[in-house]
Symmetry: none
Subunit: 121 residues, 4 copies
DNA sequence: GTGGTCTAGACCACA
DNA sequence: GTGGTCTAGACCACG
């Protein structure tokens, strides 16, 4: 967790899990760590994890079995859906901002190419 | 101004002005609108514009002539510098996030291409 | 059983049995299924059935014969009593809430009529 | 606020406000009391009011102007929509339960009539 | 054990 | 002033 930047911790937690789902580290139907466990692991307050988990339920990414635990939604398609949703969002924001700065499509493409070849940060 | 998303309004204002500089809508040395004028125009609290202007001074993008007004820094190079700084930052963030999602360089490139051709908005 | 809504599962179980009594599916004096059996059938934690049964004893709806099993109370009147108790409670809550929303008696009646005719589900 | 029953306080708060909207006590576009104010008035913790308010935003019943306050959504139709949504829900649950208990449409109607005439609780 | 709710009190950014 | 977030710690119902 990054406590320095201004992205709320509970959002960072959600993104963490979303990434784990996309990367296959946890799979549809898997049980999430309990609120207390995960809070301990991340060294944050249980309420913060709770908030993240509840937000994930609202996004239909997880659901609760009362008294048993919380689980990732059991829909296999969620992985690809998440991946595309997230990458589309990211790419869209990127391109919008570049266009706003006056870049043409060609310039945008070559910027990306250069950076990808440049390799390290 | 977008009051709904989570980007602070004063940041949105700074970005607005930066874009105007990059696009040549206002030039190095130009006088900025007064806090009150601009606040009125943007339908925003004057404190918010004030904060945006102060932040721009901190970033050496603007300076104050006491009793006269606030001006964009007079250095011509600022335009290109801004443009590159901003686009580099944007592209860098974009690529980092895509890699985090497990995309390869080729996939990133083709995603960008597709979006540029899709061309909506 | 509905694991998604917020009605405790043990309450849902009680309601299930009460309905069966009212509808004559099981009769005063009948033996209830064993905790384990019923838990298996409902795909529920045995503790939960246990709690439901205990609660029913507390409400004088059931009683235990040690070593033999649990039984529905033997009083025939229980059926009608249950039926009226439950419907009165339900109707009362309904009318109270409608009045709170500003509905008049006439409007309440016509709402009910409309719904009964609409008849879906 | 009712601290005795098991309906979460934040839900009770939401219902309170919804009722006020339906009854015209507060109108679309009105400012809601600040979190702290309302918490003080209801003698609950500000976090509890906060939770209620945020839930209302999720239901598109309210929105935030940052640094200014929270407001009821500006859509006039919301009043009737809420009223019908709530009464439909209430009536639907009522009728479902009565049917489950084996009541016929006629019996349901006459039960309601009787209760409405019976008048007091 | 699990999640759900609540309190008390704090800090922060924003307007 | 406003809302947003977070911590610490508590109690409860549920399984």
């Amino acid at each position: 967790m990054n406590f320095e930047n201004h992205v709320p911790i509970y959002i960072q937690i959600i993104d963490l899990i979303k990434r784990d789902i996309v990367l296959g580290i946890c799979k549809p139907g898997d049980k999430l760590q309990s609120v207390r466990e995960y809070a301990l692991a991340l060294k944050v307050n249980p309420n913060t994890v709770q908030k993240a988990y509840q937000e994930m339920e609202r996004m239909s990414l997880a659901f609760t079995k009362r008294g048993i635990g919380r689980f990732i939604v059991e829909e296999e398609a969620i992985v690809l859906k998440l991946k595309h949703e997230m990458s589309d969002e990211i790419a869209h924001v990127f391109i919008e901002k570049m266009i706003e700065l006056g870049y043409t499509s060609d310039e945008i493409l070559s910027t990306v190419k250069k950076m990808l070849n440049g390799g390290k940060k």
